[in-house]
Amino acid sequence: MQDWQTIVTECGPLVWRTAYRLLGNDADAADCFQETFLAALELSRRQPVRSMSGLLVRLATTRAIDRLRQKGRREHCQAESRDYDETGSSGPADEAQAQELVGQLREAICGLPAQEAKVFCLRYLSEMSYRQIASQLGIGINIVGVSLYRAKARLREALGAVQMDKDEVSHEET
C-alpha cells in the first residue's frame, strides 16, 4: 500500500520538469503530469515498483514524447511568449535564438525512433545512468549505448540540416 499523496508531493516537481522540458507549455505538461501518475498507479497495482522516481520519470518521458509526436511540428506558442527575463540571457535576440534552437531540438527528438528518443531524454535531460536507463526500459546496457549514439548522430544531422536550410534561405534573400 503506497502513500500516493506523499509520492505526488515529493516526485511531482521532477515529473513536471521532465514533462515541461519536452512539451514546452503548461497545458500539455499538466496533461502529461496527470497521465503519468495515473499510469504509475495502474502499474503499481499490477506489479511491485522498486524505484518510484525512476518509473515516474520514465513514464513522463514516454508520455511527453508521445504527446510531442501527436502535436507534430506545431509551434509552442506558450513557450515562445514567455518573458525574456526568465532565463537571464543577454537580450531578446539571444533569447529568441535559444527558443528557436530548443524548438528545433524538440522537433528533432520528435523525429527520432521511439526507443532512441526515450534513451536520449532519460540520459541527457533526466541525467540517468546507463544502468538506470537499461533497468527502466528493460533493455541491455549495450543497446542503451548504441541507441544513444544513433540518437545523437540523428540529432546532429537534423540540427545541421536545419541550419543549412536557414543559411540557404538567407543567402537567397540577400
Binding site: 500500500m1 503506497q2 502513500d3 500516493w4 499523496q5 506523499t6 505526488v8 508531493t9 511531482g12 516537481p13 513536471w16 520538469r17 521532465t18 515541461y20 522540458r21 519536452l22 514546452g24 503548461d26 505538461a29 499538466a30 503530469f33 496527470q34 501518475f37 495515473l38 498507479l41 495502474e42 497495482r45 513557450a79 526568465e86 532565463t87 535559444a98 534552437l101 530548443v102 528545433q104 531540438l105 524538440r106 541527457y124 535531460l125 545523437k152 540529432l155 546532429r156 544531422e157 540540427l159 545541421g160 541550419q163
Partner: protein, 243 residues
C-alpha cells in the same frame, strides 16, 4: 562536425534550463490527486485498493462497520454451533460395538507389521553378525599369517646358518687336504733333489776316476824327452790341482 556537436550541446543545455525555471502548479497537483482518488475508488470497488489517498473519515467508518460485521458473524456462528451440537454418546456401548470391528480390521495389519518388523530385526542382526564374523576372520587370518611368516623366517635363518657352517667346514677340510698334499709334494721334491744331488756327485766322482785313468794312460803313452816334465803316476786329479 564540431559546430554540430556544439549546437547539440547548446540545445540540450537550453532544453534542460527550460524545465528548471518552471514551478509545479498547485492546481495540477490537486487535480491529479482527485483523478487518482477517483481511479483508486474504482479499483477499491473492483477488489484491489489504494487507501492512502482516500478520505480518512470514510476509511475509519468502514473499519467500524467491518468490525461490527465480524463480531455479529462470530456470535451467529457460535450460537448456531451450540444449537446444532449432537448429544454425547455412550462410550462403553460405543467401545463394545467398535471393538470387534476394529480388532478384525487391525489384526491382519498388526500381524503383517509385526512380521515385517521381525524380519527387519533378523536381517539387521544377521547383517551385524556377518560383519562381526567377517572382521574376526580377517583379524585371525592376519594374525596367523604374521605368525607363519615369523616361523618361516626363523626356520629359514636356522637352515641358512647350518648350511653356512657346513660350507665353512668343507672349506676348512679342503684347505687341510690341499695343505697336506702340498707338503707331501714338497717332501717328494726335496727327496728327489737330494737323490739327484747324490747321483750327480757319484757321477762326478766316477767321471773323475775315469779322467785320472785316462790321464794315466796318456802319461804312460807320452814320448819321453829332456824338456818334458815327468808325469807323476799315482796322483789323483784333486791332488794334482792342489796349489
Amino acid at each position: 562536425m564540431r559546430k554540430r556537436e556544439d549546437k547539440l550541446s547548446e540545445a540540450i543545455a537550453r532544453l534542460k534550463q527550460e524545465g528548471l525555471s518552471q514551478e509545479l502548479p498547485k492546481e495540477v497537483v490537486d487535480e491529479t490527486l482527485r483523478r487518482m482518488a477517483d481511479r483508486g475508488s474504482r479499483i477499491e470497488d473492483s477488489g484491489a485498493g489504494i487507501r492512502s489517498i482516500r478520505n480518512p473519515k470514510s476509511a475509519s467508518r468502514n473499519l467500524y462497520r467491518l468490525a461490527a460485521a465480524a463480531a455479529a458473524l462470530v456470535l451467529l456462528g457460535y450460537t448456531a454451533g451450540r444449537l446444532t451440537t449432537p448429544k454425547p454418546m455412550d462410550l462403553d456401548q460405543l467401545r463394545d460395538a467398535l471393538t470387534p470391528t476394529v480388532a478384525a480390521a487391525l489384526e491382519p495389519a498388526l500381524r503383517a507389521r509385526l512380521a515385517e518388523e521381525m524380519r527387519r530385526d533378523y536381517q539387521l542382526a544377521l547383517a551385524g553378525a556377518y560383519v562381526r564374523v567377517k572382521q574376526e576372520l580377517t583379524e585371525q587370518y592376519r594374525s596367523d599369517l604374521n605368525r607363519f611368516a615369523f616361523q618361516m623366517l626363523a626356520a629359514s635363518n636356522a637352515v641358512t646358518n647350518e648350511l653356512l657352517t657346513q660350507l665353512v667346514q668343507n672349506i676348512d677340510t679342503a684347505q687341510t687336504q690341499d695343505l697336506r698334499r702340498i707338503t707331501r709334494f714338497l717332501y717328494e721334491m726335496e727327496m728327489n733333489r737330494v737323490q739327484d744331488r747324490t747321483q750327480f756327485a757319484s757321477g762326478l766322482q766316477t767321471l773323475a776316476y775315469r779322467t785320472d785313468a785316462i790321464a794315466q794312460v796318456v802319461a804312460d803313452a807320452r814320448p819321453t824327452g829332456p824338456d818334458l816334465p815327468p808325469v807323476e803316476p799315482g796322483k789323483t786329479y784333486d791332488e794334482r790341482n792342489k796349489p
